[in-house]
């Protein structure tokens, strides 16, 4: 059990031991870093490739079709075929585009997406860097994506791209605030930014989602996460029915693939971080720790894709309104609820904070009443 749990850690150690036989001692630190980095650099794109396959299969099944099933068994080689197609495609740069910006954006946008993986705890002892500011690092890196999306949209010199870019900036800035605030309760309770300590604080079945503030925080964090990676129902920056493809209208071939890769890797890492912060990360009985992490993360990824197969998208003003009028007050109140929960004794704190939460949700709902859509009843002419 222990060996399965620590399979990857032990594997790395074994590789290091083997290499230390013929490499000088001082290189071992670098070898260790390189092994971790290589693992992430390989893991990221492979995850992305199979997430595209997974999404297409899943949405296909939701829509009563098969999804990709021609290349390889169950279409498993489809991502590779797509990759070959993307690589061999002509790279088109619009004549009046800002060539420097047009080239830079897709290249740089992948970097933060890859770097985020370095603080995700994939299992017990399976984190590339245990940064003391883990969660902050993640928030900071995901916030940089905005600029590159905007650079891409401005560099393309296309009106649809520009509209998409403006939407994206407005949306990401708005959703960053509730996103940051929604993790604050976790930090408050754990007393550390480190992703590893957050997971360790949720040992046993003490996952944060089982507390009143945890439910609210989880929902807000997940929804803002979905908004941060521009997925349905918050996919306005690339809303294909309105502004063609938004900021990547003018991208083709490998550059487009890089955007796609960044989006999917972000979707995965956000799910991973949400699982870490609220669902207990790799904590869980019976199964090895990394299996638990992947189960939780893929469950959240599944929900994201399920959203995509179900929902229409919101309009710009409704999207902003949702962030500022619903999520922001809720997260602010949630910090207070978490503090209340922390400072009261154990049995009674759950009840009291739950009551406060319900009261606050009711108040927010009541305050937003005019914007809540209502069902209608229809009349008929010519009664039969």
């Amino acid at each position: 059990m222990e060996t399965i749990d620590q399979a990857f850690v032990l594997g790395k150690r074994a590789a290091l031991n083997w290499m230390s036989a013929f490499l000088p001692d001082w290189t071992m630190v670098f070898v260790s870093i390189i092994i971790s980095a290589t693992a992430i650099v390989i893991f990221g794109p492979v995850t992305m490739m199979y997430l595209t396959w997974f999404e297409r299969k899943l949405v296909g099944r939701i829509q009563n079709r098969f999804g990709p099933n021609r290349v390889g068994p169950w279409g498993l080689l489809q991502p590779i075929a797509d990759g070959i197609k993307m690589l061999t495609k002509e790279d088109i740069v619009p004549e009046h585009a800002d060539k420097f910006a047009h080239f830079l954006a897709p290249v740089v946008i992948v970097i933060p997406a890859l770097l985020i993986f370095s603080v995700v705890p994939f299992g017990r002892g399976m984190v590339a860097v245990d940064l003391s500011i883990g969660i902050l690092f993640f928030l900071a890196l995901s916030s940089t994506t905005t600029i590159w999306i905007f650079v891409a949209s401005w560099g393309s010199r296309n009106k649809f791209s520009l509209l998409g870019g403006m939407r994206s900036v407005a949306q990401m800035i708005s959703y960053e605030i509730p996103m940051v605030l929604s993790v604050v309760p976790v930090l408050l309770v754990v007393g550390s930014f480190s992703t590893v300590s957050i997971v360790e604080a949720q040992s046993g079945w003490n996952w944060f989602i089982f507390t009143p503030w945890g439910i609210a925080g989880f929902l807000v964090f997940f929804l803002t996460g979905v908004a941060e990676v521009n997925r349905t129902p918050f996919d306005l920056p690339e809303g294909e029915s309105e502004i063609v493809a938004g900021f990547h209208t003018e991208y083709s071939g490998m550059k487009f693939a890089l955007f796609y890769m960044a989006e999917f890797m972000n979707a995965f890492s956000i799910s991973g971080i949400v699982a870490t912060a609220y669902l207990g990360g790799w904590q869980g009985p019976w199964l090895p720790s990394w299996a638990w992490f992947f189960i939780k993360t893929y469950a959240l990824v599944f929900v994201m894709m399920w959203f995509r197969g179900t929902f229409p998208r919101l309009r710009v003003d409704q999207l902003m309104g949702f962030a500022w009028k619903v999520l922001l007050p809720l997260t602010l109140a949630n910090i207070f609820i978490a503090a209340l929960w922390l400072n009261l004794e154990s049995p009674k704190n759950n009840l009291i904070s739950a009551l406060v939460l319900v009261a606050i949700v009711t108040i927010i709902y009541w305050a937003n009443r005019p914007e809540v859509p209502k069902k209608r009843i229809y009349r008929y002419a010519y009664e039969d």
Binding site: S132, L136, L141, S143, V169
Partner: protein, 167 residues
């Protein structure tokens, strides 16, 4: 083998040089938009220096605020600028000479000081944790902290007031 002693400073100076180059590019590029991109890279480079010096919290905040938020505002401001890509706009103006003289004077004052100072190198870097920062803000520096909050609140209200004024 004292390779660590070498790699550390080497990469540090490499970073520094890179930041300087990007900073120079920021002020010399004719295209305002490109200059904003270089500024973003410069700020990221500064954050890397923070990480290098174990000020991780500061580094994270630097990226979150400067790169994530302020750069976006800068880019928005650039969007409102007319003719931003026009290369015929001169990058320098008539006051070159006075500025150069003033800078020379400043350098004349600063360089001896820089040379005179004995730069104490602390071998073991002290990591400032976020907890300590928070405690400092809530005890020792509580007054400036609260003052800043009030200023920000005022700015927020002011922004809303300006945005609503045309209704």
């Amino acid at each position: 083998m004292d390779i660590f002693g070498l790699i550390g400073p080497a990469s540090f100076y490499g970073f520094m040089a890179g930041i300087l180059v990007l900073a120079v590019l920021t002020v010399t590029t004719r295209n305002l938009f490109h200059s904003a991109i270089f500024l973003a890279f410069t700020l990221i480079g500064v954050a890397c220096i923070y990480f290098f010096l174990r000020a991780e919290f500061l580094g994270g905040v630097q990226i979150l605020l400067y790169v994530g938020a302020i750069m976006t505002l800068v880019i928005f401001a650039i969007m409102l600028t007319a003719k931003m890509g026009d290369p015929s706009i001169p990058q320098s103006n008539r006051q070159r000479l006075p500025v150069f003289l003033a800078l020379a004077a400043l350098a004349f004052l600063l360089v001896p000081q820089i040379v005179k100072t004995s730069w104490k190198v602390v071998e073991s870097l002290k990591t400032t944790s976020a907890v300590e920062l928070g405690q400092a803000l809530m005890s020792e520096f509580v007054l400036p902290f609260e003052l800043i909050s009030i200023v920000l609140l005022a700015a927020l209200i002011g922004a809303i007031a300006i945005a609503r004024s045309d209704q």
